[in-house]
């Protein structure tokens, strides 16, 4: 840490206390950063719905982590003979069983892993691609922009689900390919956002100032532009997670996503669809799970946006 002649004289609040975090004269990088995070957190925490969203997502993480402990039955092997299509509340089967005699609750619990896998992988693949394409295109402009945006446009002009369908059809159904297909169709909006945002910064004075420091374009993009796009991208990705879950479920529903006996929620709805009239729970339960989780992501993303970007929330 640097020497701090003036700061030392003032009474500094106890480290990590609320005052310390909220101090508008932080004395160290860490305090500044934590203070910033704390403010974001406070803004976030003011929004009850956002907290509900966060709670849902944490719950999802916990369920996924402790699936082995939580699920009362094997998610894959059922009891076709004795326990087929039992209604919710049947003995030993809280949410009932499906047509293979498998415990729906256990399948939902294990399915949370797949859901997480999908959203995390898609986010990891698509967001950085979009970020790089968008910032480079927006910052460099000219030919690079034209070419990159053409490619983006082509992907945008494709009907998203159809492209995903086509890709999955081409690569063969399966959760990995579904993830890949969703990722391939998800990055263009991120590129658009990152580009639009970059364009607003590109001619701003603080970027001009960095240029006048002699910074190379690469440095400007990496260290000055990207960090600015990241928060809106995080917000967007969080909000998109719901969409990703829905697309994955849609693919699963059309039989092109995760494959049996994997307890993917969309595929579960698809197989439950056949019993919707008499054994409604087979399709209703996984649909409900999807609804809750994507609602969680949406609430979280909404809250994040308000917290990270008060302007956009209209404050």
């Amino acid at each position: 840490m640097s020497p701090n002649p003036t700061g030392a004289a003032q009474a500094q609040p106890r480290p990590y206390s609320r005052e310390w975090l909220l101090s508008d004269r932080p004395v160290s990088r860490r305090q500044a950063r934590l203070g910033r995070a704390y403010i974001v957190w406070r803004r976030f925490a003011e929004n009850r719905l956002a907290l509900v969203g966060l709670a849902i997502i944490i719950l999802l993480l916990l369920v996924a982590a402790f699936a082995d402990v939580l699920s009362p039955h094997d998610p894959v092997v059922g009891d076709l003979r004795n326990a087929r299509l039992l209604p919710p509340g049947s003995e030993g089967y809280l949410l009932g069983t499906d047509d293979q005699g498998r415990d729906i609750l256990s399948r939902l619990v294990y399915g949370s892993r797949l859901t997480l896998l999908v959203v995390v992988l898609v986010a990891i693949i698509a967001a950085p691609i979009g970020l790089i394409v968008g910032t480079v295109s927006g910052y460099i402009g000219g030919w690079a922009d034209a070419v990159l945006m053409r490619i983006t446009d082509i992907f945008l002009a494709f009907p998203k689900l159809v492209l995903a369908l086509a890709l999955v059809a081409a690569l063969g159904p399966g959760i990995e390919n579904a993830i890949l297909a969703i990722a391939v169709t998800s990055w263009p909006p991120y590129a658009r956002i990152a580009r639009a945002e970059t364009m607003t910064f590109r001619n701003s004075e603080f970027i001009a100032a960095v240029k006048l420091m002699g910074a190379s374009p690469l440095r400007i993009i990496l260290r000055h532009v990207m960090p600015l796009c990241v928060s809106s991208l995080i917000v967007r990705v969080t909000l998109d997670m719901a969409g990703i879950i829905l697309t994955a479920a849609g693919l699963g529903f059309l039989g092109l996503g995760a494959q049996p006996p994997l307890p993917e929620w969309g595929a579960m709805i698809a197989s439950g669809r056949r019993f919707i009239l008499d054994q409604w729970w087979v399709a209703a339960m996984p649909g409900f799970a999807i609804l809750v989780v994507s609602l969680g992501f949406n609430l979280l993303g909404d809250g994040l946006r308000d917290a990270l970007d008060p302007k956009e929330a209209g404050q």
Partner: protein, 355 residues
Amino acid sequence: MALSDTSAVTRRNRRRASSAAMGLLRFAVTTLTTVFGLLVVTFFIGRVIPIDPVLAIVGDRAPAHVVERTRIELGLNLPLYQQFFIYVEQALSGNFGTSVLTTNPVFEDIKRVFPATIELATIGTLIGAILGIPLGVLAAVKRGSIADQVVRVIGLIGYSVPIFWLGLLSLVLFYAKLRWVAYPGRIDVVYEYTFTSTTGFFLFDAAWQGQWDVFRDVFRHVILPASLLGYFSLAYISRMTRSFMLNELSQEYIVAARAKGLSETRIIWFHALRNAAVPLVTVIALSYAGLLEGSVLTETIFSWPGLGLYITNSLQNADMNAVLGGTLVIGAVFVGINIFSDLLYRTLDPRTRSR
């Protein structure tokens, strides 16, 4: 000085002329590259797809030698680049070929199925806009109130619910249990013979021909899927309306309007909404485009004979002509809607009109 002035002027004029030409050129290039990109992508998907396209033509049970012969007839034994040339050449001459699945020219098929999708998406968007805009405005005006929270949650659920699931449940409720709506398809078989549609838009045709019983029937078919899509677009539209309205309401000209003594109603519905409408048309157009291309699942659930279902079916049968045609049409519509919303944006926003 005079000399350099004229040079500056000619230079300026040249730039201006070239910028207009550039604009056109850019537009043409955009459209062309997009279409070309669609061609390339569909072609390669069509080739790597692990379905033998021949099977789609000769059927599952064809003996081996028939399969082989058809393969050669289709030119599938040629090198890939040659196939691609043939493919591009045909596509450029407007010949999307024949759908092996329906044995009709793809173009004919699309002419038949696309109106179904348009009808559905249009009604959906209408529902979404007619309900979504007032809700969004209400939420923005009563920001932070219970009403705002309710609108917000309604919207978020719309974003979060798997549409096919909601579709299934609502079918069970409204069709199976309550019998309020009809299912499946666009029209009851009864009317297959008493009603002919000239435009492909059944509601419109029925009204035009004054066949109100048909109209009622078609309406009973379309209302549930359209409402679902409408809910989906309502979620999006209300949310965007809210955010645009919040933005407009915080502008100085709103203060100025208040300073003029205008009533809140006029300020909200006339001044703020009129300004929010500018970005809102883009949002609505995008959501419309989204419904046009994104109704695959809804069409599947409701056996709606539209483009989404057509493409999905074709895809699953490696009927690549049909997939290509459908995709290109959607791509073109997407580009078209973008241009249209751009135009609308220009007419709504005087700042983009130059005099």
